[in-house]
């Protein structure tokens, strides 16, 4: 097991008393546990406000977890200092690449920080990586604004890849890109995964991409896991009403599928989540028992948090 997350919680303070002590919290991630196997693609899906990006940031070390354990190769994550192994690729390359630095600098910077002293070695690594993401040598002297959207995202990928990571966290890697370029980047991501034997954690709201790439899927709503299992199974036969609703909302070209759409309303504020099952306010199948919080149970080879399967 490459990564093991146990009962991860993340709270953000939202209100403070006069002494600056937090008195009210926003619970962004609540008791999330999952395991990621070496070489697999694990995807986390949900609407905005479901806590999926918070998990990504905790895993990459940007946030500290409020409670819970994260084991990376059986070792607690916080014991590792300056790890090369886990790298993150962000949604919008326009805001994640420094506009004042050249591509060469951007890609090389990580090597510098991680202590590769030999200048020639650094240059070689940069060049090799840039080529492996389908760019040519001449982009090295350019600034991000001189590149197209797809090229920028390739630079962002190169920047992570140059450190030879084992686990890449992809936070909406293609949603800022044009349709025709999206397919290019997805192909590239699949290619480099095979070459470098990478493990991916893919965070997205696009179920088409999840279906295409991933082995395992975790569906989140308001900080809690709703359903988790093999992607193929979950996509073909979703159990949780929320997963069903999400799948029904994906527009497809070959049918008028949205007319069968049944999910109404919007995600509640995480500051004031519904009591009991958090999804019950939007659930078409809600009944009395949903006032109580359902446990995450195992049903047909996967985990689901719903009273319907209790």
């Amino acid at each position: 097991m490459l990564l093991k997350v146990e009962n991860l919680c993340k709270d953000f303070p939202v209100e403070f008393n006069v002494f600056g002590k937090p008195i009210r919290f926003l619970r962004a991630v609540q008791e999330v546990s999952f395991e990621v196997e070496q070489g697999s693609v694990f995807s986390i899906v949900g609407e905005s406000g479901s806590g999926k990006s918070t998990i990504a940031r905790v895993l990459s070390g940007i946030y500290k977890p409020s409670s819970g354990r994260i084991l990376y190769r059986d070792e607690p994550l916080e014991n590792r200092k300056r790890s090369f192994d886990i790298q993150m690729i962000f949604q919008d390359p326009d805001s994640s690449l420094d506009p004042r630095k050249t591509v060469a600098f951007i890609v090389e910077e990580g090597l510098h920080i991680h202590g590769i002293k030999d200048r020639r070695e650094r240059k070689e690594l940069v060049l090799e990586t840039i080529k492996s993401v389908g760019l040519t040598e001449d982009v090295l002297k350019k600034f991000p604004h001189q590149l197209s959207g797809g090229q920028k995202q390739r630079v962002a990928i190169a920047r992570s890849l140059v450190l030879k990571p084992r686990l890449l966290i992809l936070d909406e890697p293609t949603s800022a890109l044009d349709v025709s370029v999206q397919a290019q980047i997805l192909n590239l991501l699949m290619e480099i995964r095979e070459i470098h034997q990478l493990t991916y954690i893919l965070i997205t709201h696009d179920l088409k991409i999840v279906n295409h790439l991933s082995d395992q899927i975790m569906v989140m709503y308001l900080g809690q896991v709703m359903e988790m299992g093999e992607t193929e199974q979950v996509m073909q036969d979703p159990l949780h009403p929320y997963t069903k609703g999400l799948l029904a909302s994906v527009p497809k070209v070959d049918s008028d599928n949205l007319s069968k759409f049944s999910m109404t309303g919007e995600i509640s504020s995480p500051l004031n989540p519904p009591k009991g099952c958090v999804f019950r306010t939007r659930c078409p199948l809600a009944f009395d028992k949903c006032q109580e919080r359902p446990p995450l149970i195992v049903h047909r080879n996967r985990k689901v948090r719903c009273h319907l399967y209790g």
Binding site: V179, K252, V253, S259
Partner: protein, 320 residues
Amino acid sequence: MNPLLSVEDLMVEFRVSGAIFRAPDGVSFQIMEDECVGLVGESGSGKSVTALAIMGLVPKTQGRIVGGRILFEGQDLTKIIKYLRGTKISMVFQNPLNSLNPNMKIGRQLSEVLEQHYGMSYADAIVRVVEVMKQLGIPEPEKMVERYPFEYSGGMRQRAMIAMAMLCNPKLLIADEPTTALDVTIQAQIIQLFKQLKNQSRTSILFISHDLSVVSQIADRVVVMYAGKVCEISPVRKIFDKPLHPYTEGLISSIVDMKQRKTKLKSIEGNVPSLIDPPTGCRFHPRCSRKMQICSQKEPGFFSKDDRLVKCWLYEGVGK
């Protein structure tokens, strides 16, 4: 049927730090009464500027309309003095948070439209505002009008924007990427709302999006744009059954298929060209998989095939 709007050879020129480029560059299409036309293209294809030109909102400091006509009910919108914006033509923008005034209550902002155009009093206008908001599925509109945009959720804000656009019962509603900033579930709701609008009111819709699968849900006809030019105009079902232009074909095949897993996706090689120095001949030829010698030399005209128009040399002589 008469066309409600007819865009003829529209050209808008921009000057940005010394460089001149045109987008759209000679765009023509028509919208019939009661019809929903989808305008599809990638960023930089000129689809949003086309919408702004129809609205008379091309920023004067950088851009100007240098050629062509926009005929709306027989009047040329490029020459008109008293503009029809707001009453006959209205627009919904991509990000509602950027287009609503954060310091004004929603009710105030919406009633302003009626006060400006019809000289109604606030008390009269707010009645109509509440009525339209109710039609568009905003719960408890009487209370919601007293709230500020930040108190609305993303989907409700977009509903409020659509309500604002529909207040004067416009003949033409232009929606510029109205679902792009929204979550999938909310996107599905807004698409449903547009369908409902299309069926219940006599409003024609110009629906702009980069996402063909969204457009396929509501449009009757699709106009595909690439690098400032139209490449294909076709009824929506036919374009998905058999795309004619290689670009349209590429766009459709790069949509990720829900039925297939872990296969290599088909993609269009290369990037969208710069409009400052566009490719000669057909603008798509550097990325085209079926290019011929003529493609880089001469720009194709429109060739018609049944009720479809396509701008590609492959169809020269077909259907004549």
